[in-house]
Point group: C2
DNA sequence: CTTTGTGCAAACGATTTGCAGGATG
DNA sequence: CATCCTGCAAATCGTTTGCACAAAG
């Protein structure tokens, strides 16, 4: 619950995956864990270096790649030419607002489980992408 | 049914969308209509220029952009850094084989319609991405 | 100490753009 | 014949890589 604890949780997750805990890598992952907006590399970098330079662009890229390789972060592809990252690796769906571009997580249990048995393929996972207008952009709320 | 007819269908679709019918644009769209494999720009270009040079890279890009703008083709984003194109603009889902990378269309009615009413957003469309092994890669078939 | 990570700048690859000439309606 | 398209090459943008130095375990 305390800040100490959150730090330890992140450190332990990195260690448990066999990743060395460096300030830059920690900062990238901690930043990603603290947000829910599926940021781009550019947004992460700007955030990290806001107060004073913590990491370089190349290191953010390689950190994200390392985190992705061990399954601590996922890449989210919803728009052309835009790679976003997500520290929420639990199965969930995505909503993409066509007006403001925001991306919202949609709970896994929003949909009754699908019957994928009758497909001529071996389905291992699936995800739903929903597009439309978010709460802010509809004016309702 | 005849080749003449298919050509006319494509010409008429372009015209009806207010697009000029140029050999390059026709070739790009006709090629896309003739395949079901969601090719990349590179694959389209290679195919067009196989016998003798028909179009340049830049023109394929701009043709696809024009076709996309009028709703005759859709972009398919399933892998990082790979833009694929699809002349099937009817609603459907996608299956992506993790082994051979092939992409298959999955019929819209595979899933019972979802109840998106209880989301706090205005859902206008959705699509399902399924990942796994295709028929060839499972060995069943 | 050995291995791995970082920063910088250069390299890269996909996509876009500016421009002059050419084709379309 | 006015408008839009094409081809080419240069520009651009996001991402990756090589290398020398620094830090982690």
């Amino acid at each position: 619950m305390s800040k100490e604890n959150q730090r330890d949780v992140i450190v332990n997750r990195l260690k448990s995956k066999g990743l060395r805990v460096t300030p830059q890598r920690f900062a990238v992952y901690a930043n990603l864990c603290s947000r829910r907006d599926h940021p781009t590399v550019e947004q992460i970098l700007k955030d990290l270096n806001q107060d004073f330079p913590i990491s370089s662009q190349a290191t953010v890229y390689t950190s994200l790649q390392a985190l992705r390789k061990v399954g601590l972060v996922k890449e989210v592809l919803l728009e052309e030419g835009v790679s976003r990252y997500d520290a929420n690796v639990e199965p969930h769906h995505h909503f993409h607002c066509r007006q403001c571009g925001s991306i919202k997580d949609v709970p896994w249990d929003t949909f009754d489980s699908f019957n994928l048995e009758h497909l001529p393929y071996l389905a291992e996972s699936y995800e739903v992408t929903i597009r439309g207008l978010c709460d802010r952009c509809t004016g309702n709320n």
